[in-house]
Subunit: 196 residues, 2 copies
Amino acid sequence: METKIRKRRPAFDREEGVAIAKGLFHERGYDAVGVADLCDALGIVAPSLYAAYGSKAELFNRAMKRYVETDFLPLDDILTPDSRPEEALTKLFVRATEQYTRHDKWKGCMVTEGMRADDETARNMAAELAKGGSEIIANYIREHGAKDPERVTDYVLMTLRGLSSYACLGYTTERLTHCAEMAGRALEDDFRTLAA
Amino acid sequence: METKIRKRRPAFDREEGVAIAKGLFHERGYDAVGVADLCDALGIVAPSLYAAYGSKAELFNRAMKRYVETDFLPLDDILTPDSRPEEALTKLFVRATEQYTRHDKWKGCMVTEGMRADDETARNMAAELAKGGSEIIANYIREHGAKDPERVTDYVLMTLRGLSSYACLGYTTERLTHCAEMAGRALEDDFRTLAA
DNA sequence: ACATCTATTTAGCGGTCGCTATATATTTTT
DNA sequence: AAAAATATATAGCGACCGCTAAATAGATGT
């Protein structure tokens, strides 16, 4: 009876694992990425993944958080107080479009699309994370003289959803940018002119 | 040894089966509805389903076709030649919104959302079916004096996607209708005024 | 050197997925 | 009445799903 000798990989980098998972989840969506896919991509086996992250959903959550930190639009830079709100929000549409269509994989907004996952846990995680960005936009609109802040906010968020969804279908940056600019024109009469 | 006698349901109504499947698929999406769910809802067992429809995907296709026939917007009524194109398209947004938010289940556009399924076959079927509606809208825009028909068409379809997606999240008819009306305002300068 | 602890390994759990081979019940045709 | 065609039933296929118990290799602390 020969003794069985088992080799072992060194411990893997958890943060890098999150980054790789972010790529997979963003590319294919929560439901379409299996634990086996994640394990292959990270070069580990399932129990290592569960020891490190707890569950597929928690890994997805960490991946989304990383996405928000590293890939997300710098809302504070875009929604600057020195340009008219209509212009700033149009700029938001255009910048979002550019980001949603920049890469061949990684299309659309990972969080926005995550809110449409089949898995309820993943959906709730995405919705929770999306609240942050939505509130920044809602606050900006409220504080910059929108005549009906709630409606304008709904319109802006709805448009961002449309842009993200359209980006996922593979539309080019150019075509989608025109959509973004057109969408901005709807905002023209929605803000009080703040006299300087 | 007693002879085993097996009872049998009478043959089921294929068309009614398609209608029931339409309800399930629209409510939960292609990927989230399993063959077992369909069988339970139709009151049959799997081999009957396959004998009648061939595959889950083909049943989905028939369900979508039924949706287009029975539930879809009457584009010809909405895009009438007797109102200004901006008004007709705004009406399209509003009518779409009403339809997308009318029922608690069955939210959004079944075909539009089908295009985002994880299953490639289902996605392609939905995309193929969506072409019909898209072309009607594109033709209308082209033939009614749009300055840049392709861009306006992109904008309209993108907005419909946003409305459908937002409807799926559960937003009320009222809030979404305001979005639809705002979206229509972006179209104001995009059509040449056709002198009477 | 030894014990402890952490992260990996093998192996496999129960469940669901879409789907089907085969047999039998019922209807239709002859 | 018998034969052929049709639609149901039982039973179960192989593949994948997310996840885990138990064992062991390697790092760390004393």
